[in-house]
């Protein structure tokens, strides 16, 4: 019996809960370590970034207004969906894939638990010197641009996304350039999860083309990036100065290091602390 001819899949973008092809009509080929063609992926354009930002903005208020308890359950549900796609995700990663998938699922579980605890740990009541009830609470910053590293294409991405969406933000993510497939498989795990469409939008493409558009888009409120070059880091910060995006670019990170990657500190850059005063005397 002859060997079956496999179907080479073209992974599409994930925008607003749908899977469109790039509006630019461009695609690139992905090869494995032995140079075998494994998939085609879209090469996203500036317009795709803009569409994804629009979708994020539509979805974000509803997600932010969901109770923290509900967001926590939805993130845990995402971990369940990833568990169901363990093999597909591991295959997409390649070498050591299983270990990376396991760590990624556990990372989502970690941040699922933060949804309804972060405000308690990092918010608080302020004992002002006067008859006022004064308290500080975190709110999501809005729409976050996520630039994923090539190193650990799934775990790196998940580590950047999870702290962002836990607090009610939406994100537009640019997948690893060298291996975007795990991110696109993750998008297929997200779609049937309970996460509303548009909260995690996934693009594949070239940083050289897209980083600038992330940095200058005025409707992106913050940037979370890792594994970018020094030039791209500077570009992200310079472009972001125009609307004062909150930019958080990691240096070297070992994403397998739980101590380093699982902390409320990863959430801090993507919340706005709001302080509310009310007189408490008549």
């Amino acid at each position: 019996m002859s060997e079956r001819l496999p179907i080479i899949k073209t992974y599409k973008l994930a925008i607003g809960g749908k899977f469109p092809r790039t509006e630019s009509g461009r695609s690139t080929s992905i090869h494995d370590a032995s140079q075998n063609l494994v998939a085609h992926v879209c090469r996203a354009s500036r317009k795709d970034v803009r569409d994804a930002v629009d979708a994020s903005h539509k979805a974000q208020p509803g997600w932010a207004n969901a109770t923290a308890f509900l967001r926590s359950q939805v993130l845990y549900r995402l971990a369940e969906m990833m568990e169901g796609k363990r093999d597909e995700l591991a295959n997409a990663i390649g070498e050591n894939g299983q270990r990376e998938v396991d760590a990624s699922i556990d990372r989502v579980v970690h941040y699922a638990g933060w949804c309804d605890k972060y405000a308690q740990v990092m918010g608080g009541s302020n004992p002002v010197a006067g008859p006022y009830h004064d308290f500080t609470v975190p709110f999501p910053v809005g729409v976050v641009g996520v630039i994923a590293p090539d190193d650990a294409p799934l775990l790196g991405l998940v580590s950047l996304i999870a702290p962002v969406i836990a607090m009610g933000n939406a994100c537009v993510t640019l997948a690893s350039e060298t291996n975007p497939v795990p991110a696109l498989v993750l998008a297929e795990a997200i779609a049937p999860s309970d996460l509303p469409g548009g909260i995690v939008n996934t693009l594949s493409g070239f940083r050289e083309e897209l980083v600038e558009h992330f940095s200058t888009h005025r409707e992106i409120d913050a940037i979370h990036a890792a594994g970018v070059s020094d030039e791209h880091r500077t570009l992200l910060r310079t472009g972001s100065a125009d609307n004062l995006k909150r930019v958080h670019v990691h240096g070297e990170v070992d994403f397998f290091d739980e101590e380093a990657c699982e902390s409320s500190a990863w959430i801090d850059p993507f919340v706005e602390f709001k302080t509310i005063w009310h007189p408490s005397a008549v």
Binding site: V128, L244, W277, H278
Partner: protein
């Protein structure tokens, strides 16, 4: 728009009033607004009598001592209420800034290595000494900046002292501040502060930096350097190790030298959004940490079910406090349509009793505009407000002094959201009044601004007030109050009002890593 009084109709007869403290000739008004109405009471002048010693000229405070600026350059610090020169202040050059940074770098290991308790004790010493010299600091602040003495005496200086007291206690408790983290100092901090609350902004910057084990190079604004220099004297007086605090005076070029210095680890800037963006670009290629506290166009929203008289007081305080030179000033007022006429009447009324004039008089409500440049900026906006078709109300009863920089507090009705005065930060005693029908409309219009510093909401309905507070994009939301500050309470903005918080536990995050 149904305003009942407009500019000039109420105070048409006040031309006979001469000088700041002699409102005796102002005619009583025809309406009967009760004993609290403006113009019915006359006040005798009540000038503050303390006179602080002010040197003819000042040097730079570097490495624990006052030193001459490298090139000997100085500029005048002016009393904006009289246009008199108070003192000559040093203009720090690039190499002066470098000297200050080197001193701060050298002092860093010892200061960071001190026990938290000892660092705290130095901060307590500073706080105590500032309290003891509070009156002198208040007078100096008012002379140099033009703000009413009752504000510098009762707000600026006590709050500045409180900031040092509060942060003194953090110095040995940092491991409790941010759970699960081990805070370390950031290093040498370059801090640039504005002219609206000179000593208070200095306290907001220096107190948390020192508590967390950092050393600082601080530049006060060029029009208001004197209290920072007095603070430097206090540092020397209480034996603060040399180099921990360095004060370099000067204008934009000095600030630029700080921002661009390669051996500074963190920049903290309070000032305009335009300069904030330039700084963000300037440090983009470096590892400098950055916090920015920038401009605002804060919304004050008043619902028909608010306690009106209380709200009017809050609105007045929200916009005319410190001549409106307040980044979180409630400069856009959104009034529910059903009470618009009433609110405009009451605002006109209340403004009639605002006392504008000699900042050193304890009865003065609104002092001098900080500088000639700022007065020109405000006047530019007033011209635009008139030109674009809004109606100006400036029913203020006081005549303005002839010398000095003065602006009558005013508000505009008939303002459209597209008007310049409804969109841009004026940083003066100018309020734009607009109306709305539903809470949703109020929120979307309040949020329709690149800024997001503060907001105010006035209603006696509990659920509504918290719902609106939740939905406003602002870092500080005052409910049934406005312009309240406290060292325990984080302050800072959303969006283009900057990033980072100052004060409270959250303020420490900016000075730790």
């Amino acid at each position: 728009m149904g305003m009942t009084t407009v500019s000039g109709t109420q105070n048409a007869g006040h031309a006979g009033s001469e000088g700041v403290n002699q409102n005796t000739t102002r005619p009583a008004r025809l309406d009967l607004r009760g004993a609290s109405g403006g113009g019915l009471f006359e006040y005798a002048p009540a000038p503050e009598s303390v006179r602080p010693d002010i040197a003819d000229s000042y040097g730079l405070f570097i490495d624990g001592a006052f030193v001459e600026p490298e090139n000997g350059a100085r500029f005048a610090s002016i009393n904006p209420a009289t246009e008199d020169t108070i003192s000559m202040v040093a203009q720090a050059s690039v190499s002066d800034v470098d000297r200050a940074v080197r001193a701060a770098r050298e002092a860093l290991p010892t200061w960071a290595g001190l026990s938290g308790k000892d660092r705290g004790k130095y901060l307590y010493r500073i706080a105590r000494r500032m309290q003891e010299r509070a009156r002198e600091l208040a007078v100096l602040e008012t002379l140099d900046g033009g703000k009413p003495i009752k504000e510098s005496r009762d707000i600026d200086v006590p709050l500045a002292c409180a900031h040092f007291f509060y942060h003194a206690g953090w110095a040995d408790k940092l491991k409790f501040a941010l759970p699960g983290r081990e805070p370390r100092p950031v290093g040498v901090c370059g801090q640039i502060i504005p002219w609206n609350f000179p000593l208070l902004m200095l306290a907001w910057k220096i107190a948390p930096a020192l508590a967390c084990g950092n050393t600082v190079v601080l530049k006060p604004a060029e029009t208001t350097s004197l209290t920072a220099l007095r603070f430097a004297e206090i540092c020397a007086e209480i034996g603060l190790p040399k180099g921990v605090v360095n004060i370099v005076t000067g204008a934009g070029e000095t600030g630029k030298a700080i921002v661009e210095h390669s051996d500074i680890n963190k920049i903290a800037f309070t000032g305009s959004t335009q300069v904030g963006k330039m700084i963000a670009k300037s440090v983009a290629a470096t590892d400098k940490k950055l916090t920015l506290e920038l401009g605002g166009k804060s919304a004050n929203i008043i619902f028909e079910d608010a306690s009106l008289d209380q709200a009017i007081e809050g609105i007045i305080e929200g916009i005319y406090f410190n001549q409106g030179h307040v980044c979180c000033a409630g400069s856009r007022l959104f009034v529910q349509e059903s009470i618009l006429d009433t609110v405009i009447d009451k605002l006109n009324d209340r403004m009639g009793s605002l006392r504008v004039g000699d900042p050193m008089d304890k009865n003065t409500d609104v002092g001098a505009i900080n500088s000639k440049e700022q007065l020109a900026t405000i006047k530019k906006y007033l011209a635009l407000g008139d030109e674009e078709g809004a109606v100006r109300h400036d029913a203020c009863g006081s005549a303005l002094p002839e010398k000095g920089y003065w602006c009558k507090p005013c508000f505009y009705s008939g303002v459209q959201p597209s008007h310049t005065i409804a969109r841009e930060e004026i940083f003066g005693p100018v309020l734009a009044v607009m109306s709305f029908r539903t809470p949703d409309e109020a929120i979307s219009r309040a949020n329709n601004s690149p800024y997001g510093l503060a907001a105010g909401v006035w209603t006696d309905k509990g659920s509504k007030i918290f719902d609106v507070a939740r939905r406003l994009d602002a870092g500080v939301v005052w409910l049934n109050t406005y312009n309240k500050f406290d060292p325990t309470s984080p302050f800072g903005g959303y969006k283009e009002s900057g990033f980072g918080r100052e004060g409270g536990r959250h303020g420490l995050m900016a000075y730790c890593q």
